[in-house]
């Protein structure tokens, strides 16, 4: 079983919802990433999303845009992204790590080489914001060689037929984007998407995670009845920028505990 399968099986057995957190690799510098990932796990993160910084992050709101800019300004290379995961893996072999980013980061070195390096580093899956399933056959084939999961996104504008098509194309889990907008948006609400989530869960056996706009325990709590977990990005990325050293790590852990309390309530 892959790390993602194992983790979701454990969560199901314990009747718990998944807490998934996102930070951008190399933000604000490469050495900050692995300790931050451990701090998130310490607070109860079940799955870690790690952003691959990109020069043109067209789906991100200002918070994660700036994280991308800070990381690139600090000189983060793709090799460093893999390095952050490898460093994290030296002391955590069970928490799944999913890279999230944009297609050009994969195309430039090629899907095969990307999958090989990611797999060696201990990456479990990849989410590519600007890759629809229709364009993914080559990448899927290369990723399958390394048991690398490929996760696509379903959104409020996705038709029911297409939601099934996307869910069928996913391995690992399905990512449901809670709102029309960019990351870090501030208009999260569960009611408008409840029916779509119910439909999505009826057409897939994979875990369904909800992200975009989830910043605190009360948001996460609202997700529990409708999905298998919540993804939190901008709220923890803000902590990466606002604090440093031990204060940053403590705050990340504290945020996860607060989110966890919402999920577990």
């Amino acid at each position: 079983m892959s790390r993602l399968e194992t983790r979701f099986a454990e969560l199901r057995a314990a009747n718990r919802s998944a807490l998934v957190t996102f930070i951008t690799a190399g933000d604000p510098e490469v050495d900050a990433t692995a300790p931050a990932l451990h701090a998130l796990v310490a607070g109860g993160a079940d799955v870690l999303e790690v952003g691959m910084p990109f020069s043109d992050p067209e789906a991100e709101g200002p918070t994660i845009q700036r994280a991308n800019e800070r990381s690139l300004a600090a000189g983060t290379r793709l090799a460093d992204v893999f390095g952050c995961v490898a460093t994290f893996r030296t002391t955590d072999d069970s928490t799944p790590v999913v890279l999230m980013g944009y297609l050009n980061s994969i195309l430039r070195i090629g899907p095969r080489e990307f999958a090989r390096l990611a797999s060696e580093a201990g990456v479990d899956g990849v989410i590519i914001v600007n890759l629809p399933p229709e364009e993914a056959s080559e990448i899927r084939a290369e990723f399958d060689q390394y048991g690398m999961d490929l996760i696509f996104l379903v959104t409020p504008t996705t038709t029911p037929e297409r939601a099934k098509l996307i869910a069928d194309a996913c391995t690992g889990f399905v990512y449901f984007v809670s709102l029309k907008g960019v990351t870090g948006a501030s208009h999260f609400a569960i009611e408008p998407i409840a029916d779509q989530l119910a439909h999505l869960r009826s057409v897939t056996d994979l875990p369904v995670l909800v992200g975009f706009g989830i910043k605190q325990g009360s948001h996460a709590a609202a997700v529990v009845a409708h999905a298998d977990g919540a993804v939190v990005g901008a709220a923890v990325v803000e902590t990466m920028a606002a604090l440093s050293g031990a204060a940053r790590l403590d705050k990340l852990t504290e945020q996860c505990l607060e989110l966890r309390s919402g999920l577990d309530a």
Partner: protein, 400 residues
């Protein structure tokens, strides 16, 4: 040579380029747009509306003008200029914004957004929005807001909101990122009028078709003037809409050579340019696969051009396809060559070209002398240069 040229395919691929690489939220809007456009294309009422607007609002057809003093001074091929600079709003951009605004109206979307580099597309969008009573927001790189202040003020006079974009390199690509973020947030009531033959399907095809009026007119005009087709078509290429508009109606005429001229900036060898077809590799940006300027990690490179409208690291996917097919060739002209061409056309013909279009003129100046007087070059003079007066004056050390 080629069989009849047919591209893109049903899913928007020009060979291996194009496609629709967007955040899932936009997929439904793109499908709706493709469907609506297909219906409109075969609807005579839509075509009549479009043609009437081009005739009565834009002032088409634009003339095909024999540049006789330029021809004489170069001592080679005969040079004709397709005068897109004489369109209402001063460039070819309005051909496309008219078409897309009519589509927005059909979709019942009360708000349009656009990205702009030099400001020509922003002005053309603000203009049609004013005419149709649509709300209009234009995203423009903060650096371009500074170097194209005249067009910024024009857009404001037309009732548009101009949003300076401070992220990234503060130029056209960043404006396009921000426009995509707006669209993903406001997709229910907003149509994104992309200004060039790039972006996700159906934009590259749709914008090409709207701009093809340039080549259709030029074709019949040159046949009337010379009784034959030209030997060479020349157009500047940033995203490449004026070039595709000229080239497309000639693509099945194998004897007509097609030359796109990219922004060579300080010289292609210096890396400080905006010439992805000369010095780029295929990748994905802004919804399509195409030649891009990027580093070995796939990060998009900063570009340089004296011309804001060409200062873009990508290019429309159909140009990538035409390059790989060998059907079109892609040269470059440096900032200095474009400036020299700008001055020459002013002094020899009494025409002030946009700095973008000056790149095409620069190719003519470099290549016409080696051609014979029996040969014909047809250049797309895609826009007028009033907007660039401040830039040129600054280079001359003159503050206006």
């Amino acid at each position: 040579m080629l069989n009849r040229y047919e591209a893109p395919d049903a899913t928007g691929h020009f060979g291996e380029y194009g496609g629709a690489f967007v955040a899932e939220t936009l997929t439904a809007a793109l499908a709706e747009l493709a469907q609506l456009y297909e219906t409109a294309q075969s609807d005579p009422v839509f075509q009549r509306e479009f043609d009437a607007d081009l005739a009565n609002f834009v002032g088409r057809p634009t003339p095909l003008y024999l540049a006789s003093r330029l021809t004489e001074s170069l001592g080679g091929a005969k040079v004709y200029l397709k005068r897109e600079d004489l369109n209402h709003t001063g460039a070819h951009k309005v051909n496309n914004t008219i078409g897309q605004a009519l589509l927005a109206k059909r979709m019942g979307k009360p708000r349009v957004i656009a990205e702009t580099g030099a400001g020509q597309h922003g002005v053309a969008t603000a203009t049609v929005a004013a005419r149709l009573g649509l709300e209009c927001v234009v995203y423009m790189g903060a650096e371009d807001v500074e170097r194209q202040s005249l067009n910024v003020y024009r857009m404001k006079l037309l009732g548009a909101t101009v949003v300076p974009v401070d992220s990234g390199t503060r130029t056209l690509k960043d404006a396009m990122n921000e426009a995509l973020r707006d669209w993903v947030t406001n997709v229910d009531n907003t149509h994104y009028i992309i200004g060039t033959v790039a972006g996700p399907h159906p934009f590259p095809m749709m914008v090409r078709n709207f701009q093809s009026v340039i080549g259709q007119e030029a074709r019949s005009q040159i046949l009337q003037a010379e009784g034959r087709l030209p030997d060479v078509l020349v157009a500047c290429v940033g995203g490449g809409s004026n070039a595709i508009g000229l080239f497309h109606p000639f693509v099945d005429d194998p004897d007509v050579r097609m030359v796109g001229v990219e922004a060579g900036g300080l010289g292609v060898a210096t890396g400080k340019h905006a010439a992805p077809l000369n010095d780029g590799v295929p990748g994905v940006l802004h919804g399509n696969k195409t030649y891009l300027m990027s580093d070995e990690d796939g990060q998009i490179s900063a570009t340089h051009s004296i011309s804001a409208g060409l200062d873009y690291p990508g290019v429309g996917p159909e140009h990538s396809h035409l390059k790989d097919l060998g059907r079109a060739e892609y040269a470059s002209a440096t900032d200095d060559e474009a400036l020299a061409a700008f001055r020459s056309l002013n002094q020899l013909e009494g025409i002030m070209p946009a700095l973008e279009s000056s790149h095409a003129i620069a190719w003519v100046i470099a290549n016409a002398p080696a051609m014979s007087p029996e040969q014909i070059i047809l250049v797309n003079l895609s826009g007028r240069g009033d907007k660039d007066i401040n830039t040129v004056a600054n280079l001359d050390g003159i503050g206006l």
